[in-house]
């Protein structure tokens, strides 16, 4: 198990190197380049262009540029934002925290509602409720998160005016935790829908299998109440499946959060990437993409290891 974990962890190094190469290349692939973006109208002056190019180190060879950038990035120095004129790292890490909060909120929705829906549909198998819920999960799992987000904004923020759609500024703002939670409800729900649907479907099919096991009938014959038959006996044997599928959803929710942030103005990494693209702030964008990719890879590794810890047979599979 440990040696497998080490092997699996070592395997993410090439992935991360690949990610860094692609991210680095972004800067040189996009039309216009950073110099024009920084200088704007002044880009017609060749002297200014030469000065900025030297300042950014763009006059050196590509491998040299990559090496310098990577060394600094590993040390937490991602350069200075061309838009906000502050070190990118001071922008990045608070945003990362915001994105992780949104991811965690989405996970809570996906797990709680997914489990509840999966268990309930299994109990009322083939009923109207079951059919309707399965249809909705199919639609939910197929819909893009930003579209669902827009629908939610329209319904709950604009028509009903129950919840705010925008206005989340900082985790340590004046409203405190309650204010953050209020702002979290809609975006986290929008982001959770696909994972919620996936978890509900997996739990439902596992429950259907587990509910007809002899030990559940025996529990009934021994006079145990229905909820014990369902939760203590059936669901206990669905738990490994549920944990596995949930682990796989974490990375997915993190990625989805980036899109949802743009719709809800959630000040996280996704919104940062979006606004830095708009402002042609390549340095910030590059750093944000690198961090997002790294977190994604690490989260998936963690989910994978957790699943293996639960089922040692996976090691040899």
């Amino acid at each position: 198990m440990l040696s497998y974990a080490a092997k699996r962890a070592a395997a993410i190094v090439p992935t991360l190197i690949g990610v860094s190469l692609v991210t680095f290349a972004l800067l040189h692939i996009v039309p216009g380049g950073p110099v024009v973006a920084i200088l704007g109208m002044a880009a017609s002056d060749p002297k200014a262009v030469a000065a900025v190019t030297r300042e950014l180190g763009l006059d050196r060879s590509l491998p040299e540029q990559y090496w310098i950038w990577l060394r600094h990035a590993l040390g937490g120095n991602f350069g200075t934002s061309t838009e906000f004129h502050v070190p990118v790292s001071t922008l990045l890490f608070p945003k990362l925290a915001h994105t992780l909060v949104l991811t965690a909120g989405s996970l809570v929705y996906a797990v709680l509602l997914g489990l509840a829906l999966g268990i309930a549909t299994a109990l009322y198998h083939r009923s109207l409720f079951d059919r309707l819920a399965m249809l909705l999960t199919l639609i939910g799992a197929s819909a893009p998160v930003f579209w669902i987000g827009l629908l939610l904004v329209y319904l709950f923020a604009i028509r009903l005016q129950w919840l705010p759609a925008l206005g989340m500024t900082s985790l340590i703002g004046p409203g405190g935790v309650l204010e953050v939670l209020k702002h979290l409800i809609l975006p986290a729900f929008a982001n959770s829908i696909i994972s919620l649907a996936v978890i509900a479907r997996i739990v439902r099919s596992s429950m259907l299998e587990s509910l007809v096991q002899p030990y559940v009938l025996a529990a009934r014959a021994r006079g145990l109440p229905r909820w014990r038959q369902v939760i203590v006996h059936s669901f206990r044997n669905v738990l490994p499946d549920a944990i596995t599928i949930t682990g796989l959803q974490v990375g997915f929710l993190f990625g989805g959060a980036l899109f949802v942030e743009v719709v809800f103005g959630w000040p996280g990494l996704g919104y940062l990437i979006y606004s830095s693209i708009e402002a042609r702030d390549y340095v910030t964008m590059q750093a944000a993409v690198l961090i997002v990719s790294a977190v994604f890879v690490v989260v998936n590794l963690a989910a994978d290891l957790a699943r293996i810890a639960l089922d040692p047979r996976e090691v040899h599979a």
């Binding site: 014959a221 006079g223 145990l224 206990r236």
Partner: protein, 338 residues
């Protein structure tokens, strides 16, 4: 073969402990409706041991499970039936009442005891759960009684077994643990559905003697379901033979085994008794019926060596002696000829 064990209470004239009247259970299936149990009536007296015999698909298991309305509906469809336990009618939708009867009134043990325990929990924990829910007593308070009862059920090291998972014990041990669990709830009736079928020969004998001892020492009523005549013969006071969802013969064990009246029972006895005498084994000809498309008339007709014109109508269960009944047109013909 060990000598037959007979209960001290051979027949009880008073009101039965459990009475099933005209039970009909069907199941929907892709090939048509399966007629699992058709108009079955069974009564079990206090202290009585009733053996129910039939091949797979005869409805014996469904009939037994229905004694406490145990099978979930759907898929089971209960078309008719009235069940009384200790003089009180069991209402099918009254979960609160049924929960009290299940376990503490009517205990049940299953064919595969290991599968009747949850693979995720230790045996001790599963026993505690049942006792806590039923008797409201803590595990610590129950421990001496648990150990004592397991020992009574021939479990040599009760404490060790309580700490094991179901897959860590043999089928025979699991079955004896499940019997112990049923006993701890102090039921009036124990239903044993093929309790020895999944076991090796030694475990079979052990479990069977345990059941016989129980019946003799505790005054417990017992319903023993089996396809094995030898098992039923050893401990049953009264025997019910089922075929294709119906009771085809019923009577005192002595009468059934000495003078079976239904051709199916005769065939079963012939196939059981001839074993080991070197001659070709006798078996009931043909295959068990398809419960989704039963022939009209007597269900046994296609396999019956004595079938005649009258068998295209379903015979009624008719007296074949003082306490003996059979469902066969041959009975009428016998009285007509007499």
């Amino acid at each position: 073969m060990p000598p037959p064990l007979r209960s001290r209470a051979a027949s009880q004239p008073e009101a039965p402990l459990l009475e099933v009247v005209n039970l009909t259970v069907r199941f929907g299936s892709p090939v048509g409706e399966v007629h699992a149990v058709e108009g079955v009536s069974i009564s079990v007296g206090a202290g009585e041991t009733v053996g129910i015999i039939g091949e797979s698909g005869s409805g014996k298991t469904v009939a037994c499970m229905s004694m406490t309305w145990l099978l979930p509906s759907p898929p089971a469809r209960y078309l008719s039936g009235r069940i009384t336990f200790k003089g009180e009618e069991l209402r099918r939708n009254d979960e609160a009442q049924l929960r009290k009867v299940r376990g503490s009134g009517v205990g049940m043990i299953f064919q595969n005891a290991r599968l009747s325990f949850n693979p995720a929990y230790r045996l001790g924990r599963q026993i505690e759960e049942v006792l806590r829910v039923q008797l409201g007593r803590s595990a610590r308070a129950m421990l001496p009684e648990m150990v004592q009862t397991l020992r009574y059920c021939n479990i040599a090291e009760p404490e060790a077994v309580l700490g094991k998972f179901p897959h860590e014990v043999s089928g025979g041990v699991a079955q004896r643990v499940s019997i112990a669990l049923a006993l701890l709830s102090r039921p009036d009736l124990l239903i044993a559905d093929e309790p020895t079928t999944a076991l090796d020969l030694l475990s079979q004998i052990e479990v069977l003697s345990l059941l016989a001892r129980l019946r003799d020492e505790s005054g417990l009523s017992l319903v023993l379901v089996s396809h094995d005549l030898g098992v039923v013969r050893r401990i049953a006071d009264r025997v019910i033979i089922m075929y294709a969802g119906r009771v085809v013969e019923e009577g005192p064990a002595s009468a059934i085994f000495a003078a079976p009246r239904h051709p199916y029972t005769q065939g079963l006895l012939a196939s059981a008794l001839q074993q080991g005498d070197g001659e070709r084994l006798y078996e009931v000809p043909g295959t068990p019926p398809d419960l989704a498309s039963l022939p009209p008339g007597c269900s046994f007709r296609p396999r019956c060596p004595f079938a005649f014109d009258r068998c295209v109508t379903m015979p009624e269960l008719a007296p074949a002696g003082a306490t003996h009944q059979a469902r066969c047109h041959l009975l009428e013909r016998a009285t007509e000829h007499a």
